[in-house]
């Protein structure tokens, strides 16, 4: 019989599978003392020294802008990661080599930097390790981290994970070196909490709210499993859990679509210069890129097309677009230019609204009216640039006062999101500038840097790109588990459904902190009359 042959062939494989499905008998308990635990795992790599399971990576130099940033990967996939990022074989072990570092997907060059290859066990963690020494700008670091994150089998390290692996392989003494403090600092719970605090309060509160509602849903489902038959846990509980989970899933999905910060850092913040004709928008572009990239003339409506320039401002990538002046144009070409300007404005991450300081009365109301004419897209952060400051005569003082105080609170409507609020407080920040004399440029650059930091996360605090890619990864996994929970429907195995909520809870817990069985029991006993 042909079948029996196939059965025999499959048997060995499946026998192993079964044994891994039930916890292995050996290698646990008392007998552990003598065995190499690395050998017991089902996920074991091909060689002991390469390491097991996932390959993790993290920025291991101090976060923030610096000359050289060190990104480290550990685990069986480190070699492959190094190969795909450099496009060349690994350099000889423990020898620094200069390599072009590229995004393996787009083959776009991210940086040129030094790479080192440490095959296990002679490495920091005892596993295969790779180090990339790149330039310390946030865009570069973020780009490399993102490229690593897209490789199969690689993921950002969890807090303390490098050190744990090092310990697991008996390598911890090496980490007694100076770098350990930073490493632990970057990886620790405190840092994670700090990172959470650094996010706008809204986001932190949002995550906490999700955490509570998910924990509650899980607790109620657990109560239904553990108690319903003996105690008064009614079936309505299940319906409520489904409603909660569905709502949570919607929110998560929406959030994941919006959470573009990491993307901004990588692709550059798209800033659009907008304003009425002949206020000096193109001059501003030229001033910022320090070359006559755009044609400037005293004639209103000189700029017709959209002109793009890539800039680095305060270490952040910025793609600046100069657009046609916004007005009711009659000329068909200019009309097309205005339409393009409007389209570009709608896609902007940041709007630089330029007004003629001499033509705007120095009152908040007037400023508001002038800005409203431009119809900046709601919710997009905005910087108000009052150009031609050199032409201001006697009333320049009062305008300065206005810009220093910030425009009226009503202007908030233009930038409704909290990230749009500048350092000055309520409305979009404003600054006086003279493109002609260059006066006020420094203030503008500082303002822009602040705005970019808000948009991209501030590299001086924590390690935003890493934190955020971790966050979106965990939120994504959380949403996926909630989705599977929904797919199971009413008729399915409740233990499996609860498992999905547990997975979701665990993923969210990686951001908001662990929630243990006792916390779940607290809710069960609070919400249900169960007991002896």
């Amino acid at each position: 019989m042909a079948l029996s042959g196939a059965v025999r062939a499959a048997r060995g494989r499946c026998a192993r599978a079964l044994r891994s499905a039930v916890p292995p008998a050996a290698g646990t308990g008392a007998t552990r003392g003598t065995g190499d635990t690395r050998g017991t795992g089902a996920t074991r790599g091909t060689g002991d020294t390469r390491g097991t399971g996932d390959t993790i990576f993290a920025l291991s130099s101090a976060p923030g802008r610096c000359g050289v940033a060190v990104i480290r990967a550990s685990g069986p996939g480190s070699g492959a990661a190094l190969r795909s990022l450099t496009g060349t074989p690994e350099p000889p072990p423990r020898v620094m080599a200069l390599r072009r570092i590229q995004d393996p997907q787009t083959t776009e060059t991210l940086d040129r930097g030094l790479v080192v290859w440490f095959p296990g066990p002679r490495s920091f963690t005892g596993e295969d390790c790779a180090e990339l020494h790149v330039h310390g700008g946030p865009a570069v670091v973020s780009g490399v981290l993102r490229a690593l994150g897209r490789l199969p089998g690689l993921r950002p390290a969890e807090p303390g994970e490098f050190t744990r692996r090092a310990f697991a392989h008996g390598k911890l003494d090496l980490t007694a070196a100076e770098g350990l403090r930073d490493l632990i600092g970057a990886e620790t719970e405190a840092q994670r909490r700090q990172a959470l605090r650094q996010m706008e309060g809204d986001l932190g509160r949002l995550y906490q709210r999700w955490s509570h509602s998910l924990t509650q849903a899980l607790a109620h489902l657990e109560a239904y499993i553990d108690f319903s038959e003996d105690d008064n846990v009614e079936e309505e509980v299940l319906t409520q859990v489904r409603v909660t989970v569905q709502a949570l899933l919607q929110e998560l999905r929406g959030h994941l679509r919006d959470g573009r910060r990491g993307e901004l850092l990588r692709g550059g913040v798209r800033a659009v210069i907008a304003g009425p004709p002949n206020v000096g928008k193109s001059s501003l572009l030229n001033l910022l890129c320090r070359r006559p990239a755009a044609i400037v003339s005293p004639t209103a409506g000189t700029t017709r097309d959209v002109l793009e320039v890539a800039l680095d401002i305060g270490g952040y990538p910025l793609v600046l677009s100069d657009t046609a002046g916004l007005r009711q144009a009659t000329d068909p070409v200019e009309r097309e230019g205005v339409a393009r300007a409007r389209a570009r404005l709608c896609q902007a991450d940041l709007v630089l609204a330029v007004l003629d300081a001499t033509s705007v009365p120095p009152t908040p109301v007037a400023l508001e009216a002038a800005l409203a004419v431009l119809e900046p897209p709601p919710g997009t952060p905005c910087v108000l640039v009052l150009n031609k400051a050199d032409l201001l005569g006697g009333h320049g003082g009062s305008l300065s006062a206005t810009s220093a105080q910030g425009p009226p609170a009503t202007l908030l409507s233009c930038g409704g999101s909290p990230s749009a609020t500048g350092a000055q407080g309520q409305g979009p920040p404003a600054t006086l500038l003279s493109c002609k004399t260059g006066e006020g440029l420094e203030a503008l650059l500082e303002l822009l840097t602040q705005q970019l930091a808000q948009l991209c996360g501030d590299p001086l605090l924590g390690s935003p790109s890493l934190t955020q890619s971790r966050h979106s990864r965990h939120l994504g996994a959380c949403a996926a588990a909630l989705e599977r929970f929904g797919d199971l429907g009413d008729s399915g195995d409740l233990a499996v459904a609860a498992e999905q909520l547990r997975v979701a809870r665990r993923e969210l817990g990686r951001i908001t902190g662990h929630v243990g069985a006792e916390d779940v029991l607290d809710i069960i006993f609070r919400d249900f009359c169960v007991g002896k």
Binding site: L3, A6, R11, R13, C14, A15, L18, R19, S20, A21, V22, P23, A25, T28, G29, A30, R32, G33, T34, A42, T43, G53, P159, G160, R164, F167, A168, H169, G170, L172, L180, I184, E187, T188, A190, E222, I225, D226, F227, E229, D230, D231, N232, D493, L494, V496, E499, R502, G516, A517, E518, V520, L521, D522, F525, R526, C529, V530, G531, K532
Partner: protein
């Protein structure tokens, strides 16, 4: 029923039995199973109670005490440990010196009898512990107040439930008794959570109290190597600790109520609620462990003297009702399962005919009961004191106080086939008896019910289980094990599960073998013990499936695959027959899964074979029979009909067919949890030194974390990570400290240090200390070398 108060806390009980006539029937005061062993060498066989069983296997010998340093119960600190004054008793025979073992017969009747394992207490933990130790090959003595109360179900007349059924399956997988006994004693078998998935099925049964006791006694009294003796235990025999292990002393035996001694290789305490137990009914209190049984006070003093941290817990039991005075006609009936599912992997079926099973009935309290309870709170000490009681509702009083103005369920459960007693589950009360009667009569169906015995509350001492290792051995006193309610748990099943583990380990300890522990990734019993020993408890700990991280893998159906093999191969506590059965089942499962996986067809072909089953078309073709078996509507029977060859054979073996279905349904879940289980195991393998002084070590830890670590004394990094409030940073710093410190100890090996490393500085200033300390260090060092990394 008359409440007994302790007439004489100094052991009147063991004296009084000697005055009584010999026991009726087979239940002798001392019972020893006498298998056809080779003639016993050793001490004489005649003396009542003084006869050890078969030849006592070698006992690990403790270093003899110098004359005058006789250990009379220890106390914290070296000075108090060797009390010379204040002894209440006569000096005891000295511990025999090493090498004098064979002199046992010369010492003869004068010497105290010696067992490898002595178990104190004959409850659910004690019986399992004693039987497990004996199964493991230890010559074991079970000491109980009364042989007649062995196997007593002192509270609810049921076993199992959600989570608890899992524990029973695991006890059974380790060849424990309660599952088997329940299969011969139940009157109503029901699997709870049937519709919620096999991972959370709760095997449960109403048990006939009388039958259970009878069958349990039969088991216990017929266990080879196990001797049962009636006596109260008043004290422990202690001596200097074995070096290289934590503990300020070690136990070498027990002192009975009559002052005689029994020597032991290890001792298991399973005294339940008897440690300073106090019963509360209304405003009355009576010292008692259980209604009618006296508490153990001498032992409580001993444990206190030794410095054990003791806590106080409360529990309760409902009143009992006369069945023939209850009107069941208007109540909701819950019938038993047909066919009943047995608890034990060894049982083909349970003893009772399905149609002979009794039913349970459901009724509910109403506002009248609430009114009575509220009006009389001033008469209710037990509940009034429960200001910071357990989070759940242990009594009807707490239910109506915390969840007012609603009905509360009361299950009327039969206590036995021929019993006229009904147990109203959900009605635990501590009101004065006449008010309890009023509450009862306010409940539909119970208007005329006669109360046979009032409900009561029990307050009792428990030992902070964080003082135990995961083998349930005490860190304070070597060779002393604790199991059951004394560790802060509630429930027969929780007690039985600890009993088995303590029994196995006491046996292994006496025989000089390494401990046998169950990981969180292997069983509910592992979760139970890890939670207790790492986190402690502030309310009676009960098993819930929600406590278990790997619920998908730790199911009632596969407890044998998880534990029986280890139980046989490592612990030696599993019979050959059970082992062979488990091996056979595992092979059949592996075979079956392989067969199912090898049967691969395209999706259209499957649609032909199984027209009623919608196979998801986004699966990659071909699809194996194992994948198809995951579908809710598919089982082995359906598959076998479609593909009789080769599946017909598999489907015929019903148990196998069911298990294959479950394996298929959970495969993806279990596989996706594999890595996480691996992580937990790795963390559990990272052992911490037992004697770390967390307040003294030079590691970057916050005071709060130090306090937590000191209170919980985690054994492994895995346990550390489960202590709430210990941050990853603290874990890393701790790891670093331990690792660096290990390097230091290596260097220190040649130069022994004073005992700065040890809490309490027990060894400072002693002549022997240097050597002991250095031994401790080198032992520790070896341990770390062996630690799998």
């Amino acid at each position: 029923m008359k409440l007994l108060s302790p007439s004489n806390p100094t052991g009147a009980f063991s004296r009084s039995w000697r005055l009584r006539p010999p026991a009726r029937g087979a239940r002798t005061r001392e019972h020893r199973y006498r298998p056809a062993f080779p003639a016993a060498r050793g001490a004489g066989t005649g003396g009542r109670g003084e006869a050890p069983g078969p030849p006592a296997p070698p006992l690990p010998q403790a270093p003899p005490l110098a004359p005058g340093r006789r250990s009379r119960g220890g106390a914290p600190g070296p000075a108090a440990m060797f009390l010379r004054s204040g002894c209440r008793r006569l000096p005891l025979p000295l511990a025999p010196r090493p090498g004098h073992r064979r002199a046992g017969s010369e010492v003869g009747a004068a010497a105290a009898p010696r067992y490898e394992v002595v178990v104190i207490g004959g409850g659910h933990a004690g019986t399992e512990a004693a039987a497990a130790a004996a199964r493991g090959g230890a010559c074991t003595l079970l000491l109980t107040h009364r042989i007649g109360t062995i196997g007593e179900m002192s509270c609810n007349p049921s076993f199992g439930g959600i989570g608890k059924g899992h524990l029973m399956r695991e006890v059974d997988a380790l060849d424990g008794l309660c599952g088997r006994v329940c299969d011969r004693s139940g009157v109503h078998y029901k699997v709870l959570n049937r519709c919620k998935g096999p991972a959370v099925w709760g095997l449960r049964a109403q048990i006939d109290r009388g039958l259970y006791k009878e069958n349990m006694q039969k088991e216990i009294l017929n266990t080879p190597l196990l001797t049962v003796r009636e006596a109260s235990v008043e004290d422990l025999l202690l001596t200097e600790p074995e070096p290289g292990r934590p503990g300020k002393c070690q136990v070498t035996g027990v002192v009975l109520g009559d002052g005689s001694a029994v020597r032991a290789g290890s001792v298991i305490l399973t005294t339940g609620t008897f440690l300073r137990g106090v019963i509360h009914i209304g405003l009355e209190t009576h010292p008692a462990g259980r209604l009618g049984d006296q508490p153990a006070i001498g032992l409580a003093h001993t444990l206190e003297r030794l410095g054990f941290a003791v806590g106080r817990l409360k529990t309760g039991t409902p009143p009992r009702l006369a069945k023939d005075t209850i009107d069941f006609s208007g109540l909701e009936e819950r019938a038993a399962d047909n066919p009943p599912v047995p608890f034990s992997f060894l049982s083909e079926a349970v003893w009772i005919k399905p149609e002979d099973q009794l039913s349970c009935y459901l009724t509910r309290t109403n506002l009248k009961a609430q009114q009575i309870i509220r009006d009389n709170l001033h008469l209710n000490n037990h509940v009034r004191e429960t200001t910071r009681g357990p989070r759940y509702c242990p009594s009807l009083e707490s239910k109506v106080l915390r969840f007012p103005d609603r009905e509360h369920q009361v299950w009327l459960e039969p206590e036995g086939l021929d019993s006229n007693v009904i147990y109203p589950q959900g009605m635990s009360m501590t009101l004065p008896p006449e008010l309890q009667e009023q509450v009862i009569k306010s409940v539909p169906g119970l208007e005329k019910a006669k109360m046979l015995q009032p409900g009561y509350g029990v307050q009792y001492d428990f030992l902070d289980p964080r003082q135990l290792t995961t083998s349930l051995e005490s860190r304070l006193v070597q060779r002393l094990f604790f199991a059951g309610q004394i560790n802060g748990t509630t429930g027969y099943e929780e007690a039985a599960a600890q009993g088995v583990i303590a029994g196995i380990n006491a046996c292994r300890r006496a025989q000089g073998k390494p401990p046998f522990t169950v990981s969180r990734t292997e069983g509910y019993v592992g979760v139970l013990i890890d939670d207790l020993t790492a986190l402690g408890t502030s309310e009676p700990y009960r098993m819930f499936t929600s406590r278990v991280e790997f619920r998908m893998a730790l199911r009632p159906d596969n407890a044998d695959a998880r534990l029986t093999h280890r139980g046989f191969e490592e612990a030696g506590c599993v019979s050959q027959q059970r082992y062979e059965q488990a091996v056979k089942m595992r092979a059949a499962l592996e075979d079956g899964i392989a067969t199912l996986k090898s049967l691969q067809f395209s999706i259209p072909r499957w649609s032909q074979l199984l027209p009623g089953v919608p196979i998801s078309s986004n699966r990659r073709s071909p699809v194996s029979a194992f994948d198809v078996l995951q579908y809710q509507d598919v089982n082995m029977e359906i598959l076998a009909k479609a593909i009789p060859e080769p599946l017909g054979k598999l489907a015929q073996w019903r148990e196998l067919a069911e298990r294959l279905k479950i394996e298929a349904a959970y495969e993806w879940c279990v596989v996706s949890q594999q890595q996480e289980m691996e992580e937990v195991r790795r963390d559990e393998a990272l052992q911490l030194p037992d004697d770390l002084d967390y307040f003294a070590i030079d590691a970057s830890l916050s005071a709060e974390v130090r306090e937590k670590l000191d209170a919980n004394r985690p054994q492994t990094i895995g346990a550390v990570s489960r202590i709430p409030g210990v941050t990853p940073a603290a874990i890393v710093n701790l790891l670093r400290f331990v690792k660096t410190n290990h390097r230091k100890t290596e260097k220190l090996k040649a130069v022994p240090q004073s005992g700065e490393y040890f809490p309490g500085k027990m060894y400072s200033g002693k002549a022997t200390s240097q050597r002991q300390v250095s031994a401790e260090f080198s032992e520790e060092e070896t341990k770390f070398v062996k630690t799998p990394l």
